[in-house]
Symmetry: C2
Subunit: 179 residues, 2 copies
């Protein structure tokens, strides 16, 4: 029966983990400057903050992924999706080796109902084959063969060739109407 | 150009990492008893050694994967495959969380020519989509949609519904003749 369910690949950073909030929070902590979500809109990850490469620096710092807040509505949404879908968490984590164990601990903490069998940490997502993909990165969605939902993030505001969801309620609505 | 290459998913344990040799070596070290490769033939992973669950216990012990020997011929074979294929390392590592960082370090040590972009650690391999898969486990090969090569291991000797390769030379031969 399980194999009859349609499959969906859910990204972590920027989709179920609110790393945007975490970047803003760490930036305030380390630089004493308040950056708002609005300030970030339309920027890319390289120039999001005045200090070049800051996002990659934070992403390489122990504790960053472990203490990231959960995206609003993500827990409830994944429980709903799991009623009808085989849900896989697919994270491009391999670039940041330290993040592997942190991400697994984070998932077990906040999403204990996701089995380890359904977790995938990869480099690129080119060989991931599911019916749906929910992701905030164009590079992942563009290479994907199934149906795509682009989860809103500051770095994707100028792209409109994937169906956009601004939050988890919109993801559920889109999938329910089988867009 | 890169995307035009056919893709191949290569398993780690029992395929490029000689965990069989590692089990035998650790068993001798901890129990003082010599078990040979021949002794293991036809057994499954649960009853491979007199002590039930020993393989899972070893797999959960720090250092097990980090110090596993490289499978004979694997380095040379992967270099050959990379000339014609986009090679992905796909390991079902998620069941043993400690193994994640050890496996990544092991790969970087013994296969430094494999990019982090081409490494995947997963629970099951159900959503992995490549043209070929080289694996020793029936459960991975049976769910796979592309061409399969079953790498010989003690636990798969009684299965014959996948093309068997007894070593890396045979893998290369099979792929070259596009079996």
């Amino acid at each position: 029966m399980e194999n009859m369910k349609k499959t969906i690949a859910i990204d972590m950073d920027g989709v179920i983990a609110d790393v945007e909030a975490q970047f803003i929070s760490w930036y305030l902590r380390d630089y004493g400057i308040i950056i708002t979500r609005e300030d970030l809109q339309g920027r890319n990850e390289d120039n999001a903050f005045p200090e070049k490469g800051l996002i990659r620096k934070f992403a390489r710092t122990p504790g960053f992924f472990l203490s990231a807040p959960v995206m609003e509505g993500a827990v409830e949404a994944l429980k709903i999706l799991m009623e009808d879908f085989e849900v896989y968490i697919v994270s491009a984590a391999m670039e940041f080796p330290l993040s592997l164990s942190e991400k697994l601990t984070w998932l077990n903490t906040h999403f204990p109902f996701i089995s380890w069998k359904n977790i995938i940490f990869c480099g690129n997502k080119n060989i991931i084959n599911t019916d749906y993909m929910v992701d905030d990165h164009i590079k992942n969605l563009d290479n994907f063969k199934g149906k795509t939902i682009m989860f809103h993030a500051f770095h994707n505001v100028s792209y409109n060739h994937h169906t956009r969801a601004n939050n988890w309620n919109e993801v559920i609505s889109l999938i329910k109407q089988d867009f």
